[in-house]
Amino acid sequence: MQLFDELKTLGKKHIKADKKAMQKVPEGMWIECPKCQTSIYHKDLNRYKECPNCHYGFRMRAKERILWLTDEFEEMDNDLQTTDPINFPGYKQKLEKGKKNSGINESVLTGMAKIGSLRFGLGIMDPYFMMGSLGTVAGEKITRLFETATSQQLPVVIFTASGGARMQEGIHSLMQMAKVSQAVKAHSDQGLLYISVLTDPTTGGVTASFAMQGDLILAEPHALVGFAGRRVIEQTMHQKIPDDLQSAETLQKDGFVDVIVARHDEKKLLEQLLKMHKKAGE
C-alpha cells in the first residue's frame, strides 16, 4: 500500500507550485493574495502586480515585466521552434496554447536590454508558457544569450520562473541543464557578472542549474523556490514540512539568496549592481 501511495505521488515532483497563485489574476474586482490572504482591489495591483501588504509578486508574463524593467529591449531568437524530439503526443497543441497565453515563442524571452545607459543580456522566464518549463528551445535561447553576452563582454540578468524540466521533451530537456551550465561557466570565466532573480515559482531543474549559478542571487518576496515539490517531500518521504520551507525568505536565512527585492525596487537595484560591476574603460 505504501509503495502504491509512493507511485501515485512520485509524479508530483514537478508540480505547479501553487495552482491558486495562477488563478488569482486578473479576473474579478477583488483579488486575494495567495501568500498573506489580503484582499486587494484590482486597481491597486499596479503594473508591478505586487501585493501592497506583503509585496508578493503575482505571476507575470515576460512581456509585462519588460515594460517597467528596461528602458530598451531588443529581442533575440524569437523564431526558434522545438523539433519535438521524442514525438510526444499532444505536445504541439500545448505549445500553441503556451504561445497564445504568453505572447512569446517559448518559456523564456531573451534579448539585449538597457537600463539607462547600461547594456546587458536579459532573460525572463514566463510562467504562462507551459509553466516556464525548460525545454530545448528555452535552453537554446538562454545558452545563446550567455554566448552573445560573453562575446560582447556584457553582464547577464535572468528572471527565473519554472516548474522544472519540460516533460514532453524527455531526456533532451535534462541535457539543457548541462548545456546552459557550461555557457554560464564560460561567461563567468571571462570575469563577467551574472545575476539571477528568483521569482514565484522557481523549482526542479531550473533551481538545480542556472537559477542557483548567479554570482548574485536575488529573489522576490515570498517566491517559492525549491528543488523537489512539496507533495513529494510530504507524501513520499512522509515528512511534514513547514509552510515556508521553500520560501525566498527561508532560502536567504539558509544562505542561498543574497537579497530579497520587491518589484518596485528591482530596476533601481539592478542599475546599482550593474554600475558597480562596470569594468574600467566602459
Binding site: M167, I171, Q182, A208, F227
Partner: protein, 260 residues
C-alpha cells in the same frame, strides 16, 4: 557489439531496479584495486549514499565517485536508497577538484533514482549543490567518464554524468523523471508507467540513438564478467582521453552538450 534479444523498455526499467543488479561494492571491488574510501564534503556532511575515494585502475591512480543504494535494510535506509543529499554532491565535487589538482581521471558509477527529495535536502540546498556540480564539471581539466549501471534518475544522475563520456550497462535507464512520475504528471495516471517507459525513450538503445550516451556495455549473469566488460571500456576510453590536452578535453566536452 552483439546484444541479447531485444527487451521492452518496461522490462529494462524493471531489470535496472532488480535486486540482482550488480552492487556498487562489487563494481568497485572488481574494477579497481587498492580502493581507499574518502569521506566528507568539508562543510559538515558525509553522505553515505555517495561512496568515493582513490584507487588504482590498471596501475593508474583514479578518483572514483559512486552512488550506492546499500545492501542490508539498515544500510539502505542510512543511504536513503541511493538518493544523494546535497552533502553527497558536494563530496563528489570536492573529490573531483582534488582529482584535477593531482591530474588523475574521474570515474563515476551511477545508480540512483534521483537526488534525495527530503526536507533536510531542501534546507541544505539540493538545487544549489547540483547546479554547482554542473557548473564546475563543465571545465574540469581531467577526463571524466560516467557509467550508469542501474537507474539514472534526472538531475540527481546528471550531476554525476556531465563529463566527457557516459556509458550505460545494457539493463539500465536514464531519464528526466521516473516513468511512474511521468505518467502521473502527463496523464494523471501512474499506472500507465509501462507506456511511459516506451514514450520516454529511456533505454540505452534509445539514448544511444539520441546521442545522449557514448555506448552500451553488455551485462552478464556473472558480476565479475559484467565488471570486466566495464573495465574493458574504461581502459580503452581513458587511454584515448588521456592523450588530449586539457583544452582539447574541455572543448570536446562543450561540443558534447552544446548539440542538445
Amino acid at each position: 557489439m552483439k546484444l541479447k534479444k531485444e527487451k521492452t523498455a518496461a522490462e529494462i526499467v524493471a531489470l535496472s531496479r532488480a535486486p540482482e543488479k550488480i552492487t556498487t561494492d562489487a563494481l568497485i571491488h572488481y574494477i579497481f584495486s587498492n580502493f581507499i574510501e574518502m569521506h566528507g564534503d568539508r562543510q559538515g556532511h558525509d553522505d553515505p549514499a555517495i561512496v568515493a575515494g582513490i584507487g588504482l585502475f590498471r596501475k593508474r591512480p583514479v578518483t572514483i565517485i559512486a552512488t550506492d543504494k546499500g545492501q542490508t535494510p539498515a544500510e539502505r535506509v542510512a543511504k536513503n536508497f541511493g538518493c544523494p543529499t546535497p552533502g553527497g554532491y558536494r563530496k563528489a565535487l570536492r573529490l573531483a577538484k582534488q582529482a584535477e589538482k593531482f591530474k588523475r581521471p574521474v570515474i563515476a558509477l551511477v545508480n540512483t533514482s534521483g537526488a534525495y527529495p527530503g526536507k533536510s535536502a531542501e534546507e541544505q540546498g539540493q538545487g544549489e549543490a547540483i547546479a554547482r556540480n554542473l557548473l564546475e564539471f563543465s571545465n574540469l581539466k581531467v577526463p571524466f567518464i560516467t557509467v550508469i549501471f542501474g537507474e539514472g534518475g534526472s538531475g540527481g544522475a546528471l550531476a554525476l554524468a556531465c563529463g566527457d563520456e557516459v556509458w550505460m550497462l545494457e539493463n539500465s535507464m536514464y531519464s528526466v523523471l521516473s516513468p511512474e512520475g511521468f505518467a502521473s504528471i502527463l496523464w494523471k495516471d501512474s499506472k500507465r508507467s509501462d507506456e511511459a517507459c516506451e514514450v520516454m525513450q529511456l533505454t540505452p538503445r534509445a539514448l544511444l540513438k539520441h546521442d545522449v550516451i557514448e555506448g552500451i556495455i553488455p551485462e552478464h549473469k556473472s558480476k565479475r564478467q559484467t565488471a570486466a566488460e566495464i573495465a574493458k571500456i574504461l581502459e580503452a576510453r581513458l587511454t584515448a582521453l588521456e592523450k588530449l590536452t586539457p583544452e582539447q578535453l574541455i572543448s570536446r566536452r562543450h561540443a558534447r552538450y552544446r548539440k542538445f
